[in-house]
Amino acid sequence: MKTENQALLKVVETITAKVNPKVRKQFDRIVLAGMKLMYADQMEGYLREQIASGPPAQAAGQGAAKLLGVLQTKFNGTAPIEAMGPAGVVLVCEALDVLEKLGKAEVTPELVAEAMKEYSAAYLQMLGITREKLEGMMGAAKQQDAPAAQAEQPAPSPQPGGLPLIGAQP
């Protein structure tokens, strides 16, 4: 990304370095798709509305989460979370850079941190993660113990008559 802001550059650099190499290519593509979407002509009106929707941190964080949401629906949920999450961080930084260049905000480390909180909460809520869902998940898992335990039987032991393992007790 093209920015002079050192805080944003550092964040993007750090997050990019932390991306799992296995999904790096998808990460790059998601970032690019997000930027293209952000700057598409047809999205200009919505971009303006998003900027005016609230404080800079909220506008940038929630806007990035919504962009990811749109991309996620396009990918039919196949995009790996390991790539989507960090890609959203880069989009947040891009959004903050836009705000700074437009004179809407002064990007400081504090603002970046606040925007990240907004983005994280928005993105996880967008995935439908709520307290109720987590409670249902962990609670439901316990009820599956019995059939799951029956389905997962330990591997059969070797048949007698074969060579003993080295070190095995006679």
């Binding site: 930027m35 900027i51 005016a52 609230g54 993660i129 409670e135």
Partner: protein
């Protein structure tokens, strides 16, 4: 409900593992950004989320009996062991294969033992409940409030459309040059994941509609964090596993890592010895033997 479209799409397909992986991933990004920006509150929130994702994944793996996480042992046995923090701590020292598998899956979700240590580095306490309280307090008293948008700026238009288009072209160029499969079309999602695209597909229009369907505001970030943190604090399974992992597991993982390093070192020694023993000098008739070669 906010973001209903995406939530509905994913609700049907998102397994517990995916959900917990998402929490863990976001937690790690928060921690990383927190470290860069120096925001303790972000680090604490991120730390708790990454622990919830990792430990939750570990617990879920053992309870649901997933073969990848549990290994050979019966899931019932793993659950019974999991119920006891002492058992979990014991297992951390290399107990049953089931526990090791579950722990490794959980640790891997957090980014390994380095990820776990990183997640915990921001906290003043190693106690699970205290850690959550720290994160909860931090989320409501962030380090430096973000400046509110002045009234005069509200409603102002984005007037730099030309610069925006140039920015996109600039960002697009390297990928165009590097990746011949990248289609320089207005469709940013085409060919991304090898999905067939309808010729009449107009992503910008669809995307516009999808974006418009999402509300601009209405999300209460602090309430959401508070809710999730409260759940994590009061969930017995999570708390028990966290106590065992943080208290005993870190130490156990440290010892396991040391044992692994020692094993690798021994392997290197034996490997070197084998190579030396297998060395053959020049065959007779091929000239003078090498100095030091065995006859």
């Amino acid at each position: 409900m906010a973001f209903a479209a995406v939530g509905a799409l994913l609700a049907g397909t998102a397994s517990a593992a995916t959900t917990l992986a998402a929490i863990g991933t976001i937690g790690m990004t928060m921690s990383a950004v927190g470290m860069v920006t120096g925001s303790k509150s972000l680090m604490k929130l991120g730390g708790v989320l990454s622990l919830v994702g990792g430990i939750g994944g570990m617990v879920n793996g053992a309870i649901s009996g997933g073969a990848a996480a549990v290994g050979e042992a019966a899931a019932t046995g793993a659950v019974e062991t999991m119920e006891s923090a002492a058992g979990l701590a014991d297992a951390a020292y290399g107990g049953s294969a089931a526990m090791e598998g579950a722990q490794m899956a959980g640790l891997e979700a957090m980014g390994g033992s380095e990820g776990l240590q990183s997640a915990m580095s921001a906290f003043e306490s190693n106690d699970w409940t205290a850690m959550i309280d720290e994160a909860s307090n931090a989320s409501f008293n962030p380090m430096g409030d973000a400046p509110a948008m002045p009234d005069a700026m509200a409603g102002q238009v984005v007037d730099d459309a030309a610069a925006s288009a140039a920015r996109v072209q600039e960002a697009y160029k390297p990928l165009q040059a590097a990746d011949p499969m990248q289609t320089p079309a207005s469709d940013p999602t085409k060919d991304f994941f090898s999905k067939p695209q309808d010729a009449a597909y107009s992503p910008a229009a669809d995307s516009q509609a999808a974006y418009a369907a999402m509300p601009n505001s209405g999300l209460d970030t602090q309430s959401w964090f508070k809710d999730i943190l409260d759940w994590a604090k009061n969930n017995e399974k999570l708390a028990t596993s966290a106590v065992g992992l943080i208290g005993g597991g870190l130490n156990g993982m440290g010892q396991m890592k040391m044992a692994q390093m020692k094993a690798e070192e021994n392997q290197m020694r034996f490997g070197y010895g084998n190579q030396v023993a297998n060395f053959q000098g020049r065959q007779p008739g091929q000239g003078l033997p090498l100095i030091g070669a065995r006859r």
